[in-house]
């Protein structure tokens, strides 16, 4: 229940959030809501891993942002899991 609460509805309560996804380091979908689903898990996990290679500082985890006219998808890796949040432009 803890994971479901973290993924949704708490994060989905934020008005502009239309999609959330959790994945492990191998692209396994651990939970998702809204616009993000199974098929996105692989790409999301890989983007976070590749972005982490940009810095040698392990504590400096980058947030990968996919920006578009309508909104952004923000991806952050936290240890073994990666979270993606799709937020509409306000």
């Amino acid at each position: 229940p803890g994971l479901t609460a973290a993924v949704s509805p708490r994060s989905m309560k934020s008005p502009a959030v239309v999609g959330v996804l959790c994945t492990d380091s191998q692209g396994l979908n651990l939970g998702c809501r809204g616009t993000l689903s199974d098929e996105h898990a692989g790409v999301i996990s890989v983007l976070a891993q590749q972005a982490a290679k940009l810095t040698s500082d392990p504590t400096d985890t980058p947030v990968v942002c996919l920006e578009s006219d309508s909104g952004n998808i923000m991806i952050q890796k936290h240890d073994s899991i990666t979270v993606a949040v799709h937020k509409l432009a306000s």
């Binding site: 994971l3 006219d69 952004n72 923000m74």
Partner: protein, 161 residues
């Protein structure tokens, strides 16, 4: 050179390529093996069964093998060579016309028509980034609290008298 036959799509130049490596084993299996000793007749039946199986495997494999090294290339004249090359390429063209669904590669989705506008606009709000970091931390902590709650023994003894 065997010449092209009207019924076959691509002519096989030599017969040697398709000639079997092993003669079909119509006789007892021990005759197929090279240097088979006569003492095979006296072996116990278990041994000959195994030999029979091995040689049938060998025969099946050999039937499917085309011996390319046996091809005797007598050489073709220039015009035959060009003719055959043209024949192959028209056949390829015919086949590739039927594969139209492969030609249409899916285009990357277009996120915006105004990349400069997106790049020049405000960066992603820091509050949003903080929110995502918070969500990621919560999710990781929730996931790390998942554990197995063992209620019963996994291995039980059946009460067999």
């Amino acid at each position: 050179c065997g010449g092209a036959r009207a019924d076959s799509p691509l002519p096989f130049p030599q017969e040697e390529e398709t000639k079997r490596l092993l003669e079909p084993a119509a006789s007892p299996p021990n005759k197929v093996l090279n240097g088979a000793e006569q003492s095979y007749h006296n072996l116990p039946s278990a041994r000959t069964d195994e030999q029979a199986m091995l040689s049938s495997i060998l025969a099946k494999t050999a039937i499917n093998i085309i011996d390319v090294s046996a091809a005797d290339s007598q050489g073709m004249e220039q015009h035959e060579y060009m003719d055959r090359a043209r024949q192959y390429s028209t056949r390829l063209a015919m086949l590739s016309n039927n594969l139209t669904h492969w030609k249409k590669l899916p285009l990357l989705p277009s996120l915006t028509n105004q990349p400069h506008q997106v790049l020049a606009s405000d960066p992603v709000p820091f509050a949003d980034l903080q929110q995502v970091s918070r969500i990621a931390a919560y999710a990781f902590s929730a996931l790390s609290q998942i554990r197995v709650d063992a209620k019963e023994e996994l291995v039980v003894q059946f009460g067999i008298p």
